[in-house]
């Protein structure tokens, strides 16, 4: 069972539908007690870093999630959920992330205010990208900030004016800046690979 963190930031339904398509059951988690019911967690999210960190705090989820991450249990941060695994963000003066990686999110300086659309992802050999053809490694992005390219554990990079970390892994915690649930076949393969990484 996968827990999808529900803290009022982002569209959870599309994540759930992609998991369901792959035969993975999921529940939405809005209280700490519900964490006992799941094996792996997805932290989705859109919006501003500071507000998201604040919402996790007031939902009483910040500490239990920090513990989950520190214990090295299966975790996937998507988009803002990946950024929250860093320390902080240029986007918000206040709000601390989970500091799994010792980096701060930076503004992406591309032709448009935010990076929206499909982009090429240059990945390293990692089980997460298994069976995804390198030449067809396009994923769907929607973000204005990102963790920098030199983020520790980075396994994939992309570029929109600024190069940035498109994915990283620290133990069993992954972060992806793109939306696998909206990245067509590639995204579905990636989510399936993620499922397999729990047991390694």
């Amino acid at each position: 069972m996968v827990g999808i963190i529900d803290y009022g930031a982002g569209n959870l339904y599309s994540v759930r539908k992609a998991l369901r398509y792959l035969g993975m059951d999921s529940i939405f988690i809005s209280r700490a007690e519900e964490l006992d019911e799941v094996r792996a967690l997805i932290l989705p999210g859109v919006g501003a870093f500071g507000e998201a960190a604040h919402r996790l705090e007031i939902a009483g989820l910040k500490r239990p999630l920090q513990r989950w991450i520190d214990e090295g249990r299966p975790f996937l941060g998507i988009c803002l959920g990946m950024q929250l695994l860093g320390e902080s963000s240029e986007e918000s003066a206040t709000g601390r992330g989970f500091s799994l990686v010792r980096k701060s999110c930076v503004k992406i300086e591309g032709p448009r205010r935010i990076h929206m659309g499909w982009n090429r992802v240059d990945f390293q050999d990692d089980p997460l990208f298994q069976n995804i053809p390198r030449k067809k490694a396009y994923f769907y992005f929607v973000h204005g900030y990102a963790l920098p390219a030199d983020t520790e554990g980075a396994i994939a990079l992309s570029e929109y004016g600024t190069p940035f970390a498109a994915a990283f892994r620290i133990g069993k915690a992954y972060g992806v800046q793109f939306h696998p649930e909206k990245s067509g076949k590639n995204g579905l393969i990636l989510l399936k690979n993620w499922r397999q990484s729990w047991d390694v």
């Binding site: 930031a9 569209n11 369901r20 032709p111 448009r112 935010i114 659309g117 396009y138 909206k182």
Partner: protein, 251 residues
Amino acid sequence: MGCVRVIPCLDVNNGCVVKGVGFQNLKEKGDPLLFARSYEEQGADELVFLDVGATVESRKMTLKLLEEISSEIFIPLTAGGGISSEEDMRSVLRAGADKVSLCSAALRDPELIRRGARAFGSQCIVISIDARKAGERWHACTHGGKQDTGIDAIDWGKRCRELGAGEILLNSIDRDGTQTGYDLELTRAMSQAVDIPVIASGGAGTVEQLLDGLQQGQADAVLLASLLHEGRLTVKEIKDYFREKGVDVRC
């Protein structure tokens, strides 16, 4: 640097895909789910569903359709047509849309853009602007192009951006369905006026005209309907042509 997007648009009425010329004479074309599957298979980057009937009955059909499509197709889906409140937005997002497209309601109540962006994020709010040539400029229209608001379309685009819109879907009413090419001046004027993506719509009939929309019109994406529905072009043919011309597209 990011790919340009090719976006099929399904105008839906009572659960069927329809498409007319100049927003009139809607003709039935077929089952939206079959269209959606086929476009996804061909490599469409996103899909847009516009409920052109937007009656209560038609809306219910559209929600059901979104449910079905979003359960098996995992590319971004935008839904529009008759959305006039945060409640409407919530119901299409719950049904599986990733973005909502607002047109008349945003002109009536611009603050709706701000409220929508605050509740669901800017990335979620697409403002559809139906523009009609008025002298040297263009006016924003409503009701499928029938009513001229007198508001300058480019100024309206800028205002939408300030209120928190994430994208602009720019449709030329003069060109819609004519296959004589995009209104490139309009497209370029909007693209330069805002720093959010502009999706060009209305008038393209050939791959060359589509490319013009991206290069001369400086659009970030192209929206297509009848050209695809009638099978005169496929998404793959369009993308192959773009790639050949050095434009980065997803494969």
